[in-house]
Amino acid sequence: MVTADKLDELQLEPEVPELDLSWLNLDTEWGVNAEPGRKGLTLQQINKTLYGDIPATSEDSSARPRGAAPPEGATPRMTPWVLGEATETFSESAGLLYDEAVSRQWSSATDIPWDTLDELPEDIERAMAQLCTSLTEVEFIAGDVPGKWLPRIAADHFESGLFLMSQVMDEARHTDVFRKRALANGGGLLLQGGGGGLRQILEAEDFTQMSSMLHILGEGFVQSLFRLGELIAHNEAEKRIFRLAAQDESRHVAFGVTHLKYTLDNQPDKAEEVHWTLDMFENTIVDPDQANPGLAGALVYLLGDGDVDEGWRLFWHVRRKQVLEYLHRLDVAGLGGRLESGRLHPALVGALDEN
């Protein structure tokens, strides 16, 4: 057996790497002096240089940072396929949204005033626990989806990649904070939802289709709900959860809207494909068979604070707002006219009726 002393004896001088200084004479863009702005040295600041030129098409499937010189010698294909067209994944706001995500990270452990959770009546605690069970489930999938797409983002379009990486983090925190709320105040986890269209988002094999479902319709509805969190919350802790989560969702929705806009501006014939995707996804989320029974009941119950009639009234108020904001986002993205052309699902059209 070899002892430690013996090993010391066996130690040789380490091999010296070959000195290759050819990289000192590259013809990459040189002399760049990005300067910090009001918010520090953001991606926006470094993208003011030539390194901010975004190729419409990327031929590079490696991890080489945009603007770097290619390596000498053969390089492997890193992933089976990469989405090289900017229209497939890019958003002109992605860098900005990433910067914002980094500066607005929060902690569910310390930024929520958990000490404000007072005992709630059993029915209300159950309703909140049910809502949080459904939300932790939804947010779980919302984190899987960007993870799935990360290997397909071209390094030349890294801003979208960075944004998706920040979304993975945000969704982890949402999964975590709703689980925490369910288990924090004398409750527990209740019934699983019935899918509610989550699988369709995971199944999508086109980034723009996925983003239209996840970011614009799915997270758009969630964001509209969270922004009305005051109506659901019973204490400062719950209000803070909804407020902070809504802030994160706003970034995700903004990415979806700006990505779709970029795509449609540069590839208008994609519009029908996105319409078709939304036809399918709207149909799924209003399908009673797909509905999450616990979520709807708990939401109505919480909105009315136990008064079911009042809860229904407020539920339709929320739903109307969700649909109006959804249509507005599509307008901004350049996909207006779903209501006027009769494509909006009748159940969502019905939600617009103020009565």
Partner: protein
Amino acid sequence: MSENDVVAAAKERLEASGLPSDWLDTPVHWGVKAKEQATPENGGLRFEYLNVDVYGEVPEYWENNTEIPRGAIPDTRTEQMGYSIFNKSEVWSDLCAGLYEDAIADRWNSSADIPWESLEPIGSDLERAVCQIATLMSEYGWTKAQTTGRWLQEISYGYIEVKLFLGTVVFDAARLYEVWRKRALANGGGLGRGGRNWKFLPLTQSYTFSEFCVASIMHDAMLIALLRHGEQLAQTDAERTIYELCQQDIERHLAYFVDHMRYLMLKEPIRREEIHRYLNKAEWYLAKDGDDTLYSALAVVMGDGREGAEEAMADVAELRREQVETYLGYLRQCHLGDRDDRLNEELRKWAGMVELEEEEKIPV
């Protein structure tokens, strides 16, 4: 009115309104009050404090292929979601929940937390060398985020702590990517030459999560050994801070990867030879990649310019030796100490280890 009466009355109102009410009286594990541990001294309401009663029971085998939260009541109508990892031994580490909260507590912002104003002109060769290092660091950050992210859709909610932690790894890797890109573009320089990427294939090609973990241990160990030299390599406070913050992140990642592999080796010792095969592959690609631009750039930095680079190569070789030893050290923590005898021949030379005679090899 008693609590039971309150619930019964609520059910009645919901049913009268046509709403489902099963959720109100479904038998669940009730009465968990995690908030009671959420004190400032305890770090607030950390995820570890949720793991009580049935909610903290992490099963050896998770049977549900939907997104059902651990501890919730299943809805049998829900579609399968395509997860592929159902064995605790494949992903687990007891450290995950804590590391997840630590990552959030340690969060930093490359825009505002780096003293960029401390950057100052450092001479053309040095700037080029720093930018070359920065380019390769960015490249690894990108690869790390992409390859970690793809595992999220494979892991079921049964092991939620692992997924939450991996979410922080993805986010940390994003920052590793962008903070070094910023450094390259902030001080009169630009990006250097990309790497050959062959060494990353064991990360991108892994078929099992544990295969990905051991390849990550190798790459992260090589990186951490370099980052620990930040004080020596940094030219300014800005770079010093970057080295320190990146080191803090990578230490967390290694803590998980190592603890998970230790868990796997204890639970499934039969997989030892399989894991060695993954290590054979990872080391072979690393050695064969043959991209010396990192070490040459380090030599220019350590030699304070191209004139001193030749002489500094001895120090660089010492650093590379430390990298290999660091890697082997982490493997020993995983109960894979027998790797010392099976290390790739090229890496053995990097570490200054002689080829042991057959009879001197430590018995496995």
